[in-house]
């Protein structure tokens, strides 16, 4: 089982989390329907280092986790909004 040291809640199994999507910046202007649809759905799902939203249900805390999507290595975890 894969464990990681999280801030505030300490060492946890990654099975305790609901993993959200990449932390994509919201566009300032969405424009037409087409570009809105593309922003909502399109992803960059290639092997890479990325940051994701992770939700820990028992503590109700959100984290931003930096992870390698090929090796599953976790580099860092920060609470959302500090």
């Amino acid at each position: 089982m894969n464990y990681f040291d999280f801030p505030v809640i300490g060492r946890r199994s990654i099975d305790e989390f609901t993993i959200g999507d990449d932390t994509l910046p919201e566009p300032s202007v969405l424009g037409n329907v087409q570009s809105t649809g593309n922003w909502v759905f399109d992803r960059e799902s290639t092997p890479r280092k990325t940051t994701e939203y992770w939700f820990h249900s028992s503590s109700q805390l959100w984290f931003i986790v930096e992870r390698n999507t090929e090796t599953d290595e976790i580099f860092s975890a920060e609470t959302l909004n500090g």
Binding site: I14, G37, N38, R43, E70
Partner: protein
């Protein structure tokens, strides 16, 4: 002593008939280049030759034939989907599967078993009813059955399911079947190869080029191929390949795992699926129980398999079949599943002319193999999407015109 061995001993340079060719060099140009020598890519090659007489085709694979999701799925074939688009598409696939052994002159061990999707709550039963009515409306054998009928179909099943989540009914789909996945890929390879199509294994694609008229070349580890038609049938590697042409898609790659037990005496002649318990189980012709579960919860580009998968799956299987507690797991593996937001595939034309996509199969896409090959072949030849796959085009996401195929995976994802 076998005749085969004698032939090797007494005939100089005795060459056995091969299933498919393995040419050592690439030509400079092909009419069509298919990336991915899995079931889908090879089926497309076969139908390009058989239906349209196009044989100047190369099928490329970064690894070996059928080594991706074609060899990793759990071989279940069914058409009890939720949307009319999905039901029509998969029913056409079943019709092709039924005659495939004789069409390919290869025994694919197609075996109709019947397929039970168990409902452990009235909410699941309601969805089962919905699916059954859509299926019946489109002429598919599909019905909601009660616990007595389930017990008759599979007497070994514990209806109380460990006491905490008793089975209330099931969606029963009589045409549900299994087949040998390797035989399907090899059969298509044999047929395509016999018609002159080249299959290049261990030939990774490292780039794609385009000009003002559309896709123009495929850059491989063994040289550059000029072509005006490229099909990407690479499942879990789709975002990498489409990225070579800067085509964006909603596909996300998640790991999907499966396993088999040691071979045991045949006792399970049907296919059992539980969406609530996230599991499915059938028995192969070799006696192994083939079992799988739901997707792992995070994006991952790896075929690793985990102990956590086996332990949680076995925990649920034993609620249904407690007598299996002494049976050992023989092998486990993982595959890279290409998921879409609406659980329907992404097929057909792309923003780049001449570049076609066959992807978004989610849970491995084995049951779509024949029909995806056939419809992609007709799409490539005509340059417009085959009517059967029109609603599966990549453009539906920008247009907010999703398919909503929640029945795609029999287990909930």
């Amino acid at each position: 002593m076998s005749i085969r061995l004698l032939k090797h001993a007494f005939i100089e340079n005795y060459a056995e008939p091969c299933w498919f060719n393995t040419p050592s060099t690439l030509k400079d140009t092909y009419d069509v280049v298919i990336i991915g020598a899995g079931g889908h890519g090879l089926a497309c090659a076969h139908y390009l030759a058989q239906d349209h007489g196009i044989t100047n085709v190369a099928v490329l694979d970064a690894s070996y034939l059928g080594g991706g999701n074609t060899g990793r799925n759990t071989t279940i074939i069914r058409s009890n989907y939720l949307t009319p688009e999905g039901v029509r598409f998969y029913d056409a696939s079943i019709q092709l599967f039924k005659d495939l052994s004789s069409d390919l002159e290869t025994n694919i061990f197609y075996s109709e078993r019947g397929h039970y999707t168990l409902a452990h709550s009235s909410a699941t039963l309601r969805t089962a009813r919905w699916r059954a009515e859509v299926n019946k409306h489109l002429g598919i054998k599909s019905e909601v059955v009660g616990t007595d009928e389930i017990s008759r179909g599979c007497p070994e099943l514990q209806i109380d399911c460990g006491g905490s989540h008793a089975i209330e009914g099931a969606l029963f789909h009589a045409p549900g079947a299994v087949a040998r996945h390797d035989a399907v890929a090899w059969g298509y390879a044999k047929s395509a190869s016999a018609r002159g199509i080249e299959i290049h294994q261990h030939t990774p694609v490292i780039g794609l080029e385009k000009d003002s008229e559309g896709v123009s070349a495929v850059v491989t580890s063994k040289g550059i191929i000029k072509t005006r038609n490229v099909l990407s049938a690479v499942a879990g590697h789709t975002p990498t390949v489409t990225g070579m042409l800067n085509i964006k898609s909603p596909i996300e790659i998640f790991p999907l795992q499966a396993c088999v037990t040691e071979p045991i005496k045949p006792w399970l002649d049907t296919i059992i699926v539980s969406g609530s318990l996230h599991l499915y189980i059938s028995q192969s012709s070799r006696g192994e129980l083939v079992m799988g579960a739901t997707l792992d919860p995070m994006e991952l580009h790896s075929r690793r398999s985990t102990l956590g998968f086996v332990t949680s799956l076995c925990d649920q299987i034993l609620d249904l079949f407690p007598f299996l507690s002494g049976v050992k797991i023989n092998r486990q593996w993982g595959g890279m599943a290409d998921m879409t937001p609406d659980f329907a595939p992404i097929m057909g034309t792309s923003p780049v002319k001449g570049f076609y996509i066959d992807a978004g199969w989610g849970t491995w896409g084995f049951k779509a193999t024949p029909i995806s090959g056939k419809t992609m072949a007709s799409t490539i030849v005509n340059g417009v999407n085959d009517p059967l796959i029109r609603s599966f085009n990549l453009s539906r996401f920008g247009d907010f015109d999703l398919v909503g195929e929640k029945g795609a995976a029999a287990v909930g994802h």
